[in-house]
Symmetry: D2
Subunit: 182 residues, 4 copies
């Protein structure tokens, strides 16, 4: 049976020179924790898709360590990957561009993705598009995404809803459908 | 030397059940004509990227004929491909998704794309993103793009300008840089 | 239900400076005719994937006309596309590289591809690989593929069989499974 | 200025049930060491592209640890990544399929790749094809690639040379062109 994968976008971050973003991340943090808890409780796949900040030598342990050693570890620690989390490194904005994410979702039998993370009007929007264009169903956890520009973030949510058939839901309302079939 | 390619998005259209769009297309038509004339005068490549409407048997001659036989041929005739136009068929929203467009631009030595056509807040936005993510420079002919939702179209232009480093210019101001080097 | 798509590779050809190839094509022509007849009789999708020879202005009607006007029209006429044939233009060797073929197969529900055409040790081999890597089942019509180098062609068939789990069958033995579900 | 990147394919391996391969790897190991030493001495990028064996939770440190803890650590230790090595995880056979390798090479300004590793007639061949199809120049270190089937390996080298314009050279003859320009 098809499953839903939770995609956590760019939440492992050192937040250097990102003041505009930090407040919004702080606000959405409980939402991210909620959706993480729900996906994990259901045994649904949780995939962190994260910039490598141009450091192709880094693996995700190092990316996580840098973020935990940064000045905003309080934004990283509560949502850190656990032992079961999957991790995909991305080089550019969309979670799908030149990454194995589409292949991995296919292997997991995931036909629906739940998106949370940052930035609503950039990587989240672009990843929603690239999911939709691949015929994946999209749900966005509206209280678990962070923005830089509030107006563009609102427009991005409307675009996802109207033009990408996305469901915009609260973290506590998103239903997961259990573990992958395999 | 690198050249600029003009990308004409989804302008070969039968406009069935597209009333909201038709008025906006009518308004932007002179802009599309202007940017087409300028690109052709400079010998820059002009690439029509167009839906095939699920008809994989159709080639672009047939797509053009259908559009010219439709009830809004007055929106198609003035901007129809000429003998030198290139034509790429797309299956989904972005001009780049599962098409040879990126490869073709590479062969032409085009490092900059000028976008016109429809719909500003959908295919134009998505194509701008997919160009930007591939490190192509983007210019959008603001008076040569048509929208369905005016508010989302404005937001899309701001997104392209702020987050994809796009230049938003009038058709008559866009500079082309002559024919491909080869 | 999943269907099998017949992929006809690079058979629409003017055969300029291709003497080594022409004899092999002549030999495999009855095999191509057989597999075409069988796929069409079963209502299975038939997809011609063909070089555009760098002529991005050409649509497939023009490519076909050029081939029929060439000096080896006798190699093209018997296997020409019919009204129901689908047509995908490729720019490079593999049928999948920067083309909508994978997307189109997904839309058709095709989980198995039957390959015929040319050149066994080049485009046919590469297309088999790109099908296999995408988890599509592959069958090669051994008497319906043409080669340039007989030794490399034999090696290519062994590679497809051993390393890409391809079935190597005679044209008249390949089973098709009827039309796409939709 | 364009640089050459050394691509080390699937050499971080536990070699479980791979007896046919182990002897060939042992034979090519000095060649891999030579080409690694030469690339590093010149400051050229060295990119390990390696299966993750379906373990999407693993990062490359863990993949390396497993390989060093396996029964053939003597085949892994001499060619292990160093602090400057880049690492790309692949899911399927080609180093380019659904990975950021092409993007990374573009960022490094690498227009030529030198291939070593395993298996000559499978991943090395497929990666050479995917490099060639992207207009990258290819050199294969003939004494630094390991095979399972000697006959198919010889055919694969001929295919790369004749049909993918690859240079087939000895490890000690391959010239690197220094570090990336940036």
């Amino acid at each position: 049976m098809a499953c839903t994968a939770l995609i956590v976008i760019d939440m492992v971050n050192t937040y250097e020179h990102e003041d505009a973003l930090v407040d919004s991340v702080r606000t959405c943090l409980p939402g991210v924790e909620t959706v993480l808890r729900r996906a994990r409780a259901d045994g649904s796949p949780v995939i962190y898709v994260n910039d490598n900040f141009g450091r192709w030598r880094s693996h995700h342990g190092e990316i996580l360590q840098s973020a935990l050693a940064g000045e905003h570890s309080e934004l990283v620690k509560p949502i850190a990957p656990d032992e079961d989390s999957l991790f995909v490194v991305k080089a550019r904005h969309s979670a799908f561009f030149e990454t194995p994410l589409a292949y991995l979702l296919g292997q997991l039998g995931a036909e629906r993705v739940a998106l949370c993370g940052q930035v609503t009007e950039q990587c989240v929007l672009y990843s929603a598009l690239d999911a939709y264009i691949r015929h994946l169903d999209v749900v966005v956890a509206a209280d678990a995404v962070a923005h830089i520009d509030p107006g563009l973030a609102q427009a991005a949510l409307r675009m996802m809803e109207r033009n990408m058939s996305a469901d915009i839901q609260r973290s506590r309302e998103i239903s997961f459908s259990g573990p992958p079939a395999r």
